[in-house]
Symmetry: C2
Subunit: 344 residues, 2 copies
């Protein structure tokens, strides 16, 4: 499979100039990006940096606050850019993280990948890899504004003969505190539209995968109302998968910001705020007990804990034996989480 | 090894009468307990019920509130009694749980036990077991009153030839928000005294084990200032190990309540409350990511989630890149968590 695709969307772009508009200079040197403008790793790094800045600017505009930008390096290779806004006017905690890491796969990581059906032939037992992605979790203050999460990532492994295995993964999902059919339809609708440009099965298949992945087994509930989730995507070809991921990444603003704006001034009661805090507790349970990325991150030497756990809410609550009243709005939300629904 | 020990502390006791003073009738039928008063399972069940009521009453006295008592049954065998006080005057969330469960070991549980060096010969592949314990986590409101946790448990497995393998486990540990040398010395001193009655190595060995067990690896911090922790204890003989566990269980009130009373009216600032909430977040991280009991519970079919997650605080907080100021009381606490200390 070709890792060099040409012509591409960067062909006519002044990379150095474009990088100036990002939240920070990219992880890779701008010179290197310019030299390797045809390579998928460059194209993906530019895409995730662009996604980060587009999303951060849209959130800043609606909140009035500004993101704190941290650049960090990983001793073992690569680094990242973490953008966090905490205790804003609208957002309790908003994190948008880019990471571009490289090195040799640890034995554990290689084993995990083999268990996912990948045949990997290393040179002298070594498997050089590059992994990059943009990920974000936004926890708003108002319980009528849902939490959103997205992650788009690219993985490349060099085998003994110099050939490259690569795949993309990602998804966007929504975690409301209360059911709002209109919000859910808008959110899923935007995702479905992006999927439809690429394959008619993408939306239904990746919607189902999302419900399955974000399942809090010990509670018998999904984390939220889903969206799309996919992993190990490597066909029909690199160009087409990248274009699909690009379409998805371009939806993060239009699938979420209209919902934020709609509920910006919704009044709420202390009871509604409490229910939000209980749901935040469940969010923490999913992320610490089940989330693959978190588990992988916590077990990986040299990983940046603060960026991994950026996804946790500022505050959460665990009430013993909390059970919403029958017929309440809270019970309606639980009902949806226990029985995932089609929204469009 | 004898599973029938006689005479014992129940020899002269009116079991039915004693049970009336407990938080609830015990999990096993009183008639069965009376018939089997010589057996270790009966003696341990009476001990954990007594520990539960002693601790609950002591907490109620200092708080002024009352525990909510839930009896629950497990379809697969056995059940439990969960006592919870939430949003009291002194305690934000206090849980004291007894469980007595029985059945056949699942294949996964048997595998886990074999990995701990146990040779288990089942009959027709079946290994009947009984497991029981008392466990408690107390999260006070005032950041100057530490969180305490204890757990004392007994495990019995019947092998093919009818013989029984058994062992005890347990421990008590303290998680303060601020360092208080006097509190730490009192807490560790009471535990050391209880240990010293049984073996001179118990306190130093189990103190070390505790620091090692309650380690939040991804943070490079222990959960709190430790105490004692032990597992798989089955020597020199059942009578002596039970007596040791009894000594430990009898310390839960004297090792904690004096500390609660001392700080009952300590004034605190919003900043101190915030730091408590950040520490609560770390408590959640330990419990959901590392704690064996929680992991085992969440993965076990038919387990009661609300009792397992009773240990989570009512509220917790995750601040991005939280780092206490140099020379502050918060930094002093972190320093202790990063470098476990001898307290006595």
């Amino acid at each position: 499979m070709a890792s060099r695709v040409w012509p591409n969307e960067l062909a006519e772009v002044d990379i150095a100039e474009t990088c100036k508009s990002f939240m920070s200079p990219p992880v890779s040197d701008v010179d290197v990006l310019q030299q390797r403008r045809g390579e998928m790793s460059t194209r993906m790094e530019m895409l995730i940096m662009q996604t980060q800045v587009d999303f951060c600017r849209a959130l800043e505009e609606v909140d009035g606050g500004t993101f704190k930008v941290d650049r960090w390096k990983r001793t073992e290779g690569g680094g990242g850019i973490s953008c966090v806004m905490q205790d804003g006017k609208v957002f309790e905690k908003a994190g948008v993280n880019v990471s571009v890491v490289s090195g040799n796969l640890t034995e554990e990581a290689a084993k995990q990948m083999r268990s996912r059906g990948k045949v990997l032939k290393g040179r002298d037992g070594k498997l050089p890899f590059i992994a990059m992605g943009v990920s974000s979790v936004i926890h708003p203050k108002n319980p009528h504004i849902p939490t959103v999460h997205f992650n788009y990532r690219y993985f490349e492994i060099e085998e003994a003969d110099g050939s490259k295995q690569w795949w993309f993964g990602g998804g966007t999902d929504l975690t409301p505190v209360y059911v709002d059919q209109e919000d859910a339809a808008l959110f899923h609708g935007v995702l479905k539209q992006a999927c439809a440009k690429h394959h008619p099965r993408y939306y239904p298949d990746f919607k189902k995968w999302c419900d399955k992945y974000f399942y809090v087994r010990h509670r018998g509930e999904t984390r939220g109302i889903g969206g799309i989730f996919f992993d190990d995507l490597d066909s029909p070809d690199q160009e087409e998968v990248f274009n699909f991921v690009k379409s998805c990444a371009q939806t993060v603003v239009p699938c979420y910001l209209p919902i934020v704006r709609k509920h910006l001034n919704d009044p709420f009661t202390p009871e509604e705020k409490d229910w939000q805090q209980v749901r935040r507790g469940r969010y923490v349970e999913f992320n610490l007990v089940y989330d693959r990325g978190v588990k992988f991150g916590l077990a990986t030497p040299g990983s940046r804990i603060e960026s991994i756990l950026m996804s946790l809410p500022l505050t959460a609550r665990w009430e013993y034996m909390h059970e919403p009243k029958k017929g309440s709005k809270e019970a309606a939300m639980l009902e949806v989480l226990r029985n995932p629904r089609e929204w469009i």
